[in-house]
């Protein structure tokens, strides 16, 4: 009975997602494939990030509002370890680690940052943790901006994409010629979705394992976990590290998707995007964030049309403003009317958490 109910919701979710993809083709008679690939690449990267956030909030009940800084940590560490150019003068660094090692170090750095940020979580209640994480993310952003000699500051990092693109398979190039899409973005998109599949495989295993069960117990009642002889603090820190590591990987992919890394990328609003995706997909659900992310990005990329209804000659600021307006509204309405999102389990809803 129970599983039947979930599978019904699953079918519903798949149908909605397919419809939203169909909508892209419907609204864009020309260049739909290019738009779709752009959208799916973003959806993959943000979806991956939301999966990490779900480990924090959905599994462990940790109110993390500094997710953008985990993504940023992964991205900056990875890029700076590889050949790149940075700063006002575009100072070139030609030596560096092979990409696969750099990415792993980046993920580890993000996880360590998660551990560091998780330390205050030892003693703090949920709403305090929200404030601490958002503040820490802001500190991270300000430091990245300010430590120009290391991070390139406001001038950002460039000339790093080749590290990844030189491994791009030939078939993408030939397909891109006949279907007119950006091959470099498609390559990032493919890696993002492969990462999602691998991550989900790992998380599915963990979710049904004794470790995943222990995390859920921490989410429910930390005191009772302690009373059963379990170290709730260590479990929370592990959860922080795992989710931050996943976010770190998604940050790296986001940097590769943009082609140049600016300090305006890893800002609080990015965190709120990811929150919206997680809630839409279903808090606590494994696959929810994927579907949530696709639908979210269809909404985001097609709202420009709506914006033009209100503003005849909308400028970039107004278009972006309109997107965020919708994101805010989406978060609010979902939380009020459908807090379990598309695939969240109603029985495991985190609604009455005090």
């Amino acid at each position: 009975m129970n599983s039947l109910l979930i599978s019904k919701r699953f079918i519903f979710t798949v149908v909605i997602t397919s419809l939203s993809i169909y909508l892209v083709f419907l609204l864009n008679p020309e260049g739909a494939l290019r738009i779709l690939i752009n959208l799916l690449t973003f959806a993959g990267i943000y979806g991956l990030s939301a999966i990490g956030l779900n480990v924090h909030f959905g599994w462990t009940g940790l109110l993390n509002f500094g997710h953008a800084s985990f993504m940023g940590m992964g991205a900056y560490v990875t890029l700076l370890l590889m050949p790149h150019a940075a700063g006002r003068e575009g100072e070139v660094t030609t030596t560096g680690l092979p990409i696969i090692i750099a990415v792993f170090v980046g993920i580890a750095a993000a996880a360590l940052f998660g551990l560091l940020l998780g330390l205050p979580a030892i003693r703090l209640r949920g709403d305090y943790l929200a404030i601490v994480t958002i503040a820490a993310a802001e500190i991270f952003r300000l430091l990245v901006r300010d430590l120009e000699s290391i991070t390139g500051g406001v001038y950002g990092i460039i000339s790093y994409t080749e590290n990844l693109q030189k491994f791009r398979p030939e078939f993408i190039n030939s397909l891109s010629l006949s279907y007119e899409f950006a091959p470099s973005q498609a390559w990032v998109g493919i890696i993002a979705w492969v990462s999602i599949i691998l991550t989900l495989f790992l998380l599915k295993r963990l979710n049904s394992s004794p470790w995943g069960r222990a995390l859920r117990a921490v989410r429910e009642d930390e005191d009772a976990v302690r009373a059963m002889g379990k170290n709730a603090v260590w479990l929370k820190l592990q959860s922080f590290m795992l989710g931050a590591g996943i976010a770190g990987l998604s940050g790296v992919l986001l940097a590769f998707n943009y082609g140049s890394l600016e300090t305006t990328v890893f800002v609080p609003l990015l965190t709120f995007y990811v929150w919206a995706i997680m809630i839409l997909g279903g808090v606590g659900s494994l696959t929810g964030p994927i579907f949530g992310s696709i639908i979210f990005w269809v909404i985001i990329s097609e709202t420009d049309r709506l914006a033009y209804i209100f503003f005849e000659n909308a400028n970039g600021q107004q278009l972006a403003g309109f997107r965020f307006l919708l994101v805010g509204l989406l978060i609010m309405l979902l939380m009020i009317f459908r807090p379990s999102g598309l695939l969240g389990k109603k029985e495991e809803l985190l609604l009455d958490v005090k």
Binding site: L202, R205, L206, S209, P210, W211, G212, R213, A214, R216, A217, R219, E220, D221, D223, A224, V225, R226, A227, M228, G229, K230, N231, A232, L235, Q238, L242, E347, E348, L349
Partner: protein
């Protein structure tokens, strides 16, 4: 080595200006069922919080089987074989009854992150044993029909049962029961009392805070009375029944 189970000395704890606990010396013997009673605000729950590590005393020492646990974390004390329950029942609401039990019974090594990724054969076997053990306990307590229900769906009394089941799955030496009968219907209270007595006779030392005086008198071997944080009486149920201090503490000040 001390033959006492638990020993506290000069234990003090205050909140703001309020002295919640101030106990010079108190010892508990092994294999005894001791009840701690006292009027509201007597410091009973604070005392439990202190000896189970959930709060740190302002001063004083606590020994469990001769080991100083004054500064130990709750999980460390629990691993030493002393398991507590809570006045406001704490079950894992959004987990099933079976999951509640399996989590509680699972060893720390079994919970490890790396083992969980690798999913070893050893871990799988352990989980099967754990499941069997959980069902055994549920059958003992007559709750096996609820194994797959979410704990939040249980009644107050059933939650108390679940909390007790969870506490005994790892065969503790000592149980600290904080108002195990509060809010439980009379029929279930009867069952719970029987169960507690059975656990006591199976060799588990039990410390119990309980407001139901009748029940306390019936099953306790020893009763400790606290009032305003201090020890005012200590003895067998009969002695306590006739103790002048106790009568005053209950009637003199609480005469509402």
């Amino acid at each position: 080595m001390s033959s006492n189970l638990l020993e506290v000395k000069n234990l003090k704890k205050s909140f703001g200006g309020l002295q919640a606990v101030d106990i010079k010396e108190l010892k508990f013997k092994k294999n005894q069922l001791t009840s701690i009673i006292g009027p509201n605000g007597a410091g009973k729950t604070t005392f439990f919080d202190l000896i189970s590590g959930f709060q740190t005393a302002d001063s004083g020492d606590i020994f469990l089987n001769g080991d100083d646990i004054s500064n130990s974390h709750p999980y460390q004390i629990a691993r030493m074989g002393m398991i507590r329950t809570f006045q406001l029942t704490k079950v894992f609401d959004r987990m099933t009854v079976l999951e509640n039990l399996m989590f509680s019974g699972s060893s720390v090594t079994n919970d490890s992150f790396t083992k969980s990724i690798i999913n070893t054969k050893k871990q799988r076997n352990y989980e099967i044993e754990l499941k069997d053990k959980s069902y055994e306990i549920m059958e003992d307590l007559n709750i096996s029909h609820m194994a797959d229900s979410y704990a939040r769906e249980l009644s107050g009394g059933q939650k108390k049962l679940l909390e007790l089941a969870r506490s005994i799955i790892n065969n503790p030496d000592t149980l600290l029961l904080d108002e195990p009968l509060a809010g439980v219907n009379p029929k279930l209270a009867e069952d719970l009392l029987g169960l507690i007595q059975k656990l006591a006779s199976s060799g588990i030392s039990i410390l119990m805070v309980e407001h139901n005086i009748e029940a306390v008198m019936k099953i306790s071997e020893r009763i400790v009375v606290l009032s305003e944080g201090t020890l005012i009486a200590d003895g067998s149920p009969n002695e306590i029944r006739n103790d002048q201090n106790v009568i005053e503490a209950y009637l003199g000040k609480d005469d509402g």
